[in-house]
C-alpha cells in the first residue's frame, strides 16, 4: 500500500489563502441561493492537482452545496442560483459555451450514499465510457473496466463476477464501484461528498487508502464531517461555517495552529 509522503506538502505551502501551483479549479466570489435563501456567501478558493482538498464544517454549513457548484450539479435543483466565477483550467464553467455534459466528464463525483445503478458491475463501470463514446475498438471497454476497477482497488474482489448486480455488493464495495465508475471516464477532478459517511470503519479505511493512491492523478476534493478523516487524507483543508469560507490552508496548519478563532473552536469540539 502506498505510503503517504507528507514531506512534499511542505514544499508547496507558500501562500496559505490559495493553493500553490497552477490551480485546476478556482472559485471567485461565489454566492449560491436556494430561492430567497442564501446558502453560500462570497467564497473564493483554489484547488490544484497535487493535493487532496478537504472541506470541513458543521452540518448545514454549505460545504456540500459548494462542492456541487463545481460540476454544476446544482443545475438539477430548480430553485438554485449560482453567482460568481468558477473556472476549470481558466475556463468559466458557468459560461454559456460550456457544455455541462463535457464538464461533468472532466469533473466526476462520488456521492454520500453509494448509488450504483441496478445493473451489472461491468455495466456500472462501462456506463460513462459508453455515454462519452470512449471505447472505440471491441476490447477497449473491457480494458477500461478492468483498469478502472483496478484503480479503485476493487478488481481482485469482483473480477470473477463482473456480471453480478452492482447493488449486490457490500456498502464499501459499492462505494468503490462508484469511484471506479467516476474514474472510468478519466476525469481531471473528482468531487467526493462525504463518501464514507454511510460506511463502517473498515470500508472507510479502504476508501481513505484509495484516496491516497488516486492523489496526484486527479485533483480530489472531499467533503467530510469527520475531522480525523480530513486530517488523514488531505493536504489542504477549508473550513466552512454558515455559508462562508472561514479559513483555508494546509491541513497540518489548520489542525495544529488555526488562525481563526472559529476554526479553533470547531477543531477543539466547541461546536459542530
Amino acid at each position: 500500500m502506498t505510503q503517504v509522503d507528507f514531506a512534499d506538502t511542505a514544499e508547496t505551502s507558500a501562500a496559505p489563502a490559495v493553493a500553490p501551483g497552477v490551480p485546476k479549479m478556482a472559485a471567485q466570489g461565489v454566492n449560491v441561493f436556494y430561492g430567497e435563501k442564501q446558502a453560500i456567501r462570497d467564497v473564493s478558493i483554489d484547488v490544484n492537482m497535487e493535493n487532496v482538498t478537504a472541506f470541513i464544517g458543521p452540518s448545514g454549513c454549505g460545504k456540500s452545496t459548494f462542492l456541487r457548484t463545481l460540476n454544476r450539479m446544482n443545475d438539477t435543483v430548480a430553485s438554485a442560483r449560482v453567482e460568481g466565477l468558477i473556472t476549470l483550467d481558466g475556463e468559466n464553467i458557468y459560461d454559456k459555451t460550456m457544455d455541462v455534459v463535457q464538464l461533468r466528464a472532466r469533473v466526476g463525483m462520488v456521492f454520500q450514499k453509494p448509488n450504483p445503478f441496478p445493473k451489472s458491475i461491468y455495466e456500472n463501470v462501462a456506463y460513462g465510457p459508453r455515454i462519452h463514446g470512449l471505447a472505440r475498438a471491441k476490447g477497449d471497454m473491457d480494458q477500461i473496466v478492468e483498469r478502472s476497477l483496478k484503480r479503485a482497488g476493487l478488481w481482485e474482489e469482483v473480477k470473477d463476477r463482473l456480471q453480478d448486480s452492482g447493488t449486490a455488493l457490500s456498502g464499501g464495495q459499492q462505494q468503490r464501484l462508484c469511484i471506479a465508475r467516476a474514474i472510468a471516464v478519466d476525469p481531471e477532478v473528482i468531487l467526493m461528498d462525504e463518501p464514507c459517511s454511510a460506511l463502517d470503519p473498515i470500508a472507510t479505511a479502504k476508501i481513505e487508502e484509495l484516496i491516497h493512491e488516486l492523489r496526484g492523478r486527479y485533483a480530489i476534493v472531499i467533503v467530510t464531517h469527520n475531522m480525523q478523516q480530513a486530517a488523514r487524507v488531505s493536504q489542504r483543508t477549508a473550513f466552512f461555517h454558515l455559508g462562508t469560507l472561514i479559513e483555508y490552508g494546509e491541513t497540518d496548519q489548520i489542525f495544529t495552529a488555526p488562525r481563526q478563532e472559529r476554526t479553533k473552536d470547531y477543531i477543539t469540539g466547541r461546536y459542530g
Partner: protein, 457 residues
C-alpha cells in the same frame, strides 16, 4: 307491525338502554372508592349494543323467512289444493298472491284473488310474532348487559371489540360479493358446459349464436374469434396508443415539467380517466369510426367498415392513457434520486439518464401498470358496444371489423332471452373466462409491483 316502525322502536330502546346503562355506571362510579374502569358513556354503549344488535339481527333473519312461512300458510288453505301442482304456473300464481297482498289491484288468476287475504293475514300474524320476539330479545339482552355493569367491568374493551367486528364484516362484504359473483358465473357456466363441450367453446373458431344447430350447439359457439378480437382491440391496438403516450407523458411530468406545469397538467390528464365510457363510445362511433373508414377507403380498402377494430382500439387506448401514465409516474418517482444524480454526474444527458437508468429501474412498475391497463381494457364494454362490430372475424387488419367478448355478452343478454338455451348461457361462460383472464392479469401485476417495491427497501 310495519318493519320501519319496528326498527324505529328498537332504536328507541337502544337510546333508553344507553341512558340507563350510563346512569347506572355513573352511580357505581360515585359509590365506589375506585375509579370506573370505563367511562359511563362506554357502559351505556355496551348496554345499547346488547339491546339493539341481537334484536336487529333477529328482525333481519325473520323478515327473510316470513314470506316463506306465509306462503306455507296459504298452501295449507283448502282453496289452495286447486292450484297447479308444479312448475312455472304454480310459481306465477304464488307471485300474484304476494303482489295482491302487497296492494296490487291487477291480476290474471282468480285463485290469487281468493287467496290473497289468506296470505295477508298469515304474514300479519308472523310479523306480529316477529315483533314480539324482537322486543323481548331487546329487553332480555339489554337487561343481561345492564346487570353486568360494575365499577371494574371492562365495557371499553368490549365496545372496541364490537367496533372491530363491525369493520371486519364491512370488509368481508366486498370479498363475499366477489365470491358470490364468481360462484353464480361458475354455476351458470357449468350448465352451459353440460350442453356444449368445453373444447368446442374454447377452441372453436366459428361464432354465430344466431344460428345454433340443436344437435351440435358447439359448432357455432366457438369463442376464439371473440377472444382474438378482445386481444386485438384491447391488448394490441389500445396498448399501442396507451403505452407510448402514457409513458412519455409520465416522463415529461416527472423529469421535465416545472412544478407549476405539473400542477396543472397532471389533474388535466386524470380528467381523461373520469370521462364516462359511454362518452368515449359516442366519440368512437360518431367521429373516429367514420374518419378511419374514409381514411381506409382512401388507402384502397374498399370494404372498410366504420365499425373497425382500429376505431374502438384507438379510443380505448386514449381512455387507458391515464392508467399507464399514473402507474409509470409513481414508479419513476419511486426510483431514488441518487440514481438520477449518479447518472447526471457522469455527464449523461437527461434523456440518456431516463433511457438508461430511470426506465430500467422503473420497468417492473411500468409493466405492472400496463398489465392493469390491459385487464381494464379487455373488460371495457361501452366503447366496444357502441363502436365495434358484431361480426366475429379473426383478422389482423385493423380496418376490418372485429368484436369482443364484452360486446357479445351484451348482445346475448339483451332482448328476448331464454335462460336455458345454450345461446344465453354462453354469455356466462364468456363472462367466466374473461373474469379468469383479468383476475390472472391482476395477480401477476400485483406480484410484479410487490417485487419491485422490495428492490429499493
Amino acid at each position: 307491525m310495519n318493519l320501519y316502525a319496528l326498527l324505529f322502536l328498537v332504536t328507541g330502546l337502544g337510546v333508553i338502554a344507553w341512558l340507563t346503562g350510563r346512569a347506572r355506571a355513573a352511580r357505581y362510579g360515585a359509590a365506589s372508592k375506585h375509579r370506573l374502569h370505563s367511562l359511563p358513556g362506554q357502559h351505556g354503549l355496551y348496554v345499547a349494543m346488547w339491546t339493539v344488535i341481537p334484536a336487529l339481527f333477529f328482525v333481519i333473519i325473520w323478515s327473510i323467512f316470513t314470506p316463506n312461512l306465509a306462503t306455507e300458510a296459504v298452501l295449507r288453505d283448502p282453496q289452495a289444493f286447486a292450484l297447479p301442482a308444479f312448475g312455472y304456473e304454480r310459481e306465477a300464481v304464488l307471485n300474484e298472491i304476494r303482489a295482491r297482498a302487497a296492494g296490487s289491484e291487477y291480476g290474471f288468476y282468480p285463485a290469487a284473488e281468493q287467496l290473497a287475504p289468506v296470505y295477508l293475514q298469515a304474514s300479519r300474524f308472523y310479523s306480529w310474532i316477529g315483533t314480539g320476539i324482537a322486543i323481548l330479545l331487546a329487553f332480555a339482552c339489554g337487561a343481561f348487559a345492564y346487570t353486568r355493569i360494575r365499577a371494574d367491568f371492562r365495557a371499553r374493551t368490549r365496545v372496541e371489540r364490537t367496533v372491530m367486528l363491525a369493520l371486519l364484516v364491512a370488509s368481508l362484504i366486498a370479498i363475499l360479493t366477489t365470491l358470490g359473483i364468481f360462484l353464480s358465473l361458475l354455476f351458470e357456466s357449468l350448465r352451459f358446459f353440460a350442453m356444449v363441450p368445453i373444447t368446442d367453446f374454447l377452441f372453436g373458431t366459428t361464432w354465430s349464436p344466431q344460428v345454433i344447430d340443436p344437435a351440435d350447439p358447439g359448432a357455432t359457439l366457438g369463442a376464439v374469434p371473440l377472444f382474438w378480437g378482445t386481444f386485438f382491440i384491447g391488448a394490441v391496438i389500445a396498448m399501442l396508443v396507451a403505452i407510448p403516450f402514457g409513458l412519455m407523458s409520465a416522463i415529461y411530468l416527472t423529469q421535465y415539467a416545472k412544478p407549476v406545469v405539473r400542477k396543472w397538467m397532471k389533474p388535466m390528464l386524470e380528467i381523461l380517466a373520469g370521462v364516462p365510457t359511454v362518452v368515449y363510445g359516442y366519440f368512437a362511433a360518431l367521429t373516429v369510426g367514420p374518419a378511419i373508414r374514409d381514411f381506409a377507403v382512401s388507402l384502397g380498402f374498399t370494404y372498410a367498415s366504420s365499425e373497425s377494430a382500429l376505431a374502438a382500439g384507438l379510443v380505448m387506448g386514449v381512455m387507458i392513457i391515464p392508467f399507464v401514465s399514473s402507474m409509470a409516474d409513481d414508479s419513476i418517482a419511486a426510483v431514488p434520486s441518487a440514481m438520477r444524480d449518479g447518472s447526471l454526474a457522469m455527464g449523461a444527458t437527461s434523456s440518456e439518464t431516463i433511457r438508461k437508468v430511470l426506465l430500467p429501474a422503473a420497468l417492473p412498475g411500468v409493466v405492472a401498470g400496463v398489465l392493469l391497463a390491459v385487464s381494464r381494457a379487455i373488460g371495457e364494454t361501452m366503447i366496444v358496444v357502441m363502436a365495434a362490430s358484431g361480426a366475429a372475424n379473426i383478422t389482423a387488419n385493423p380496418f376490418e371489423s372485429a368484436t369482443t367478448v364484452t360486446k357479445q355478452i351484451v348482445d346475448l343478454l339483451t332482448g328476448e332471452a331464454e335462460f336455458d338455451s345454450p345461446k344465453t348461457l354462453a354469455a356466462f361462460a364468456l363472462g367466466l373466462t374473461l373474469f379468469l383472464i383479468t383476475f390472472l392479469l391482476n395477480i401477476v401485476a400485483l406480484r410484479v409491483v410487490k417485487k419491485y417495491r422490495e428492490a429499493y427497501d
